[in-house]
């Protein structure tokens, strides 16, 4: 064993810090549930728990299916064909991630609840309640995860591989299936895993579309929530036991995904620049464009419109008509000093979380690839696999009190996270770390090590070689990581409400207030505003990157 270089050492250290700070509390919380075998057994024997496991699997697999079936073809069309208005479509689908899932769910309830939904006013034909609806809504909100992962992977695959298949007699679809798909499969599987995990850890949408209905159904997260609300130590233990079951499902999913993506985990051509030839869609251009536009309409425009209409409605009990519209809610919410400062705070925190998730993701990637340490990679998935409530509770149970390390009876190092924004940041980073680790590990495993070796032979130190050669090659996955983390954090609600320090509003806590105390209209205003800001930001960065290219 050679002595590890500085980069590897730093990565290992960072990964260790991560475990201590972020994953540790979750381990502690879950072990409460597992430690008492009676609680765990009781949970396992409960038919309600079994139903919840089954419902979780159904909705999460369904969501994964929706995200993959929509996300992969869209990614391919955007990245590899001459589809018109690609930037606009990319923006539209990416903006889904900026929409807090519960806002999306709210939009869909307004559109498609079986009794009074806008779409069902003239005969019932869509029912958003129940497992299929949950799968659809969580699936569409996870679509960008698959789409961005697949896009980043496609950018790394030379199109001559596909052309070679065409020249060998394969039709266009066959060529994609045989030449390109296996190589982007690890990234797709990785994105799909994230969707599966986020769907199985989702709370808001299953609650709205599953629990709060005439025919209620529970998934594991809503069950955890119910346990927690029962209160007391026993409630916490039962919630931990249910969380442990969720974690087992997550670990199984991880193992399954490792198996599924194995075939394509090969190194791609070393230093050669990738040539991407856009496939001419020919006479299919129009119908395919129409199909993509229709998808964008159903998946993005429709629920957003519902949210916009809600934000303009003076009152939900009025009929939808121009006369019922008012901009009063917009004034109320936007021209409010609190909204502005909350937005600023959330943007800063989300940016910080984005950067940290990238850095820690790199650290995990390096430990995974250089010393094949899988532990960090797997642990990073844990917070992502449990609902935000559990992460927040775990952090609160550990960090509510100051932690003091006393040195020589004189000086104390006090770790004081309670009621600080640092704890919110920690929660964000812990929860979304998986996005960084998945993206970076995939990017790194396809990276030819000779590239860094070449730099070493050119006289670069390991650190320089990493910065000059490895990092630039990881730009796409890192950028995707930052954007996703930022968007997920900027409107994060569950953890923010529990952890945010008093008097320091975040967008998430404001959304929650408006939603639960004011009215859905005001919450919709904020959601619309967030989506608009995010779309503007994405537009700016995409214009910026175009001018640089």
């Amino acid at each position: 064993m050679t002595r590890p270089d500085a980069i590897t050492a730093a990565a290992v250290a960072l990964a260790a810090v991560l475990v201590v700070f972020a994953v540790g509390p979750i381990l502690a919380l879950v072990s409460r549930g597992v430690a008492d075998t009676n609680v765990l057994l009781g949970e396992l024997r409960d038919p309600g728990a079994r139903n919840a496991v089954w419902a979780t699997l159904r909705t999460s697999l369904g969501a994964t299916f929706v995200a993959v079936v929509l996300g992969v073809p869209i990614a391919f069309l955007l990245e590899r064909t001459n589809l018109p208005a690609r930037r606009m479509f990319a923006l539209a689908f990416t903006s889904l991630i900026a929409l807090p899932p519960f806002i999306l769910g709210m939009g869909w309830i307004q559109l498609a609840n079986p009794i009074a939904g806008y779409l069902n006013r003239h005969g019932a034909w869509v029912d958003i309640y129940g497992a299929p609806g949950i799968a659809f809504v969580t699936g569409t909100s996870g679509l960008p995860l698959v789409m961005l992962a697949a896009q980043a992977a496609l950018a790394r695959v030379d199109s001559s591989l596909e052309e070679a298949a065409r020249m060998s007699g394969a039709g266009p679809l066959r060529a994609i299936r045989d030449a390109t798909l296996p190589l982007v499969l690890p990234s797709i599987v990785s994105g799909a895993l994230l969707v599966f995990l986020s769907a199985s850890a989702a709370f808001g949408v299953p609650y709205m579309l599953g629990v709060a209905t005439a025919t209620p159904m529970h998934v594991l997260t809503t069950r955890i929530y119910t346990h927690l609300l029962k209160g007391g130590a026993s409630g916490l233990a039962e919630a931990s036991a249910a969380s442990a079951i969720l974690l087992v499902i997550a670990m199984l999913a991880l193992a399954g995904s490792a198996l599924a993506g194995r075939a394509g985990r090969v190194r791609l051509a070393a230093g050669k620049g990738v040539v991407v030839q856009r496939l001419d869609l020919g006479r299919w251009r129009l119908p395919i464009t129409a199909a993509v536009a229709l998808t964008a309409f159903v998946v993005v425009v429709l629920p957003l419109t519902a949210v916009v209409i809600t934000s303009l409605m003076g009152n939900a009990s009025l009929p939808i008509a121009f006369a019922s519209f008012t901009t009063a809610h917009w004034h109320e919410v936007l021209f409010n000093g609190r909204t502005l400062s909350a937005a600023l705070r959330s943007f800063l925190l989300a940016s910080g979380a984005g950067v940290l998730v990238c850095v820690l993701g790199l650290a995990i990637g390096v430990t995974r690839v250089r010393i094949s340490g899988r532990a960090a990679e797997q642990l990073a998935l844990w917070p992502y696999a449990v609902p935000g409530t559990v992460v927040a509770m775990a952090l609160l149970t550990i960090y509510s009190m100051d932690i003091r390390f006393v040195v020589a009876n004189q000086v104390a190092f006090v770790l004081s996270l309670a009621n600080s924004l640092a704890m919110v940041l920690l929660a964000y980073v812990a929860k979304y770390l998986a996005i960084g680790s998945r993206n970076v590990v995939d990017g790194m495993s396809q990276l030819d090590p000779t590239l860094a070796e070449a730099a070493r032979l050119c006289g670069a130190s390991p650190r320089r070689a990493f910065i000059d050669v490895v990092l630039p090659r990881l730009r796409a996955p890192l950028a995707a990581t930052f954007v996703l983390t930022f968007l997920l954090c900027v409107t994060e609600l569950t953890m923010s409400v529990l952890i945010a320090p008093p008097g320091r509003d975040l967008l998430g806590t404001l959304l929650f207030d408006l939603q639960s105390y004011a009215d859905p209209a005001s919450a919709s205003v904020l959601a619309c505003a967030v989506v608009m800001v995010v779309v503007a930001g994405l537009t700016l960065t995409s214009v910026g990157s175009r001018s640089r290219a």
Binding site: A13, L14, G48, M217, A233, N315, F413, F512
Partner: protein, 342 residues
């Protein structure tokens, strides 16, 4: 080796350095007459109401900084549980809407008794005999119905009848404190069968009060069980709903305020409670909060009948009821969750 060093370094960077040696009391010497410093209040009172209470609090306690942790009742409870698990509640004062929570905290010995002078004028049923908590406000669960609903329900009992099949929304007793109190009274009056009937007749368990209101406003449900203040605000905003005082009695829920035994600033905590119970504080609850004040001399919010009339229309309330509630609610929640397919 280097890794370990880096690890230690990062850990230390996250820390604040303090001298361990004689900690000179940290806080300024406390003086019972002029409360000062910071007081932490965990509350489920709406933020807009808190904003409007702030000037009054600043005027009455100029040297106290009030820090709010504001969240729904269930989140409040979850946070307190987590803090207890971590070693201690961080709050000085709790002002939530679930009376049974207070009784439970009292039984667990978490609360510190404090008899505010203002407590004397409150109705007896609104004050804990051991002065552990006292009502600052009163919430009421009533029925709301869409204006266009034909033959709206007249009582809570009606809601479970077949006539309103698929048309009713109720709050979730598992996640909403006010819904818990309501369900407790229903359980007491009609037994578990009431919930079974609701389930059979496809009542929607919507979550919190805002969710119930939304279901009724959007037309997904025609009638629902709602906290009166939500209904009043919605009606004020032009919502086309009617408020129905159920014939079998509205559920009146005292919203208590109490201080924790572990409070780090007890003087300020007491001062805070005094302000909330003072005539001005009580007035603010009626005018800003759209709730009934616990002070019976004040009128009801937005032209609703005053507290005494409300108590007459409500289901009877007594101190023993609270103990009964703490004992029975877990089983009731269990029964409820089993009935609603959980």
């Amino acid at each position: 080796m280097r890794a370990a060093f880096l690890l230690a370094l990062v850990c230390l960077c996250a820390c604040r350095i303090e001298r361990v040696a004689p900690n000179g009391g940290g806080q300024a010497p406390t003086c019972e007459t002029t409360p000062r410093g910071e007081v932490w209040v965990y509350t489920s009172v709406y933020k807009t109401v808190l904003d409007r209470l702030d000037p009054l609090l600043r005027e009455r306690m100029p040297e106290v900084k009030v820090s709010w942790f504001q969240a729904g009742g269930e989140k409040l409870q979850a946070r307190i549980e987590a803090e207890i698990a971590a070693g201690g509640v961080q709050a000085d004062v709790i002002m939530a809407s679930d009376p049974f929570l207070y009784e439970r905290f009292k039984e667990e010995g978490l609360l510190a008794p404090y008899a505010s002078v203002h407590a004397l004028k409150m109705p007896r049923t609104m004050v804990d005999a051991d002065a552990n908590y006292v009502a600052a406000r009163v919430g009421t669960m009533i029925i709301v119905a869409r204006k266009d609903m034909k033959d709206p329900p007249k009582s809570f009992r009606d809601l479970s009848s077949e006539r309103y099949r698929g048309r009713i929304a109720i709050g979730d007793p598992l996640s909403s404190g006010t819904a818990t109190s309501w369900a407790f009274f229903m359980n007491r009056a009609y037994g578990v069968q009431y919930f079974r009937d609701l389930r059979v007749n496809r009542a929607v368990v919507a979550g919190g009060n805002a969710a119930v209101l939304q279901k009724v406003e959007s037309g997904e449900a025609d009638a629902g069980v709602l906290l009166m203040e939500n209904a009043l605000v919605a009606r004020g905003n032009g919502s086309r709903i009617t408020i129905i005082y159920p014939e079998d009695g509205a559920v009146v829920i005292p919203g208590h305020v109490a201080m924790f035994k572990s409070a780090r600033n007890p003087a300020a905590a007491r001062a805070f409670i005094d302000v909330m119970l003072s005539p001005e504080g009580q007035r603010a609850i009626v005018d800003i909060g759209d709730m009934h004040a616990a002070d019976p001399t004040l009128p009801g919010p937005r032209g609703e009948p005053p507290l005494e009339e409300l108590l007459r229309r409500g289901m009877p309330w007594s101190a023993t009821l609270l103990q009964e509630g703490v004992a029975q609610i877990p089983a009731m929640k269990q029964a409820f969750s089993e009935i609603f397919g959980r």
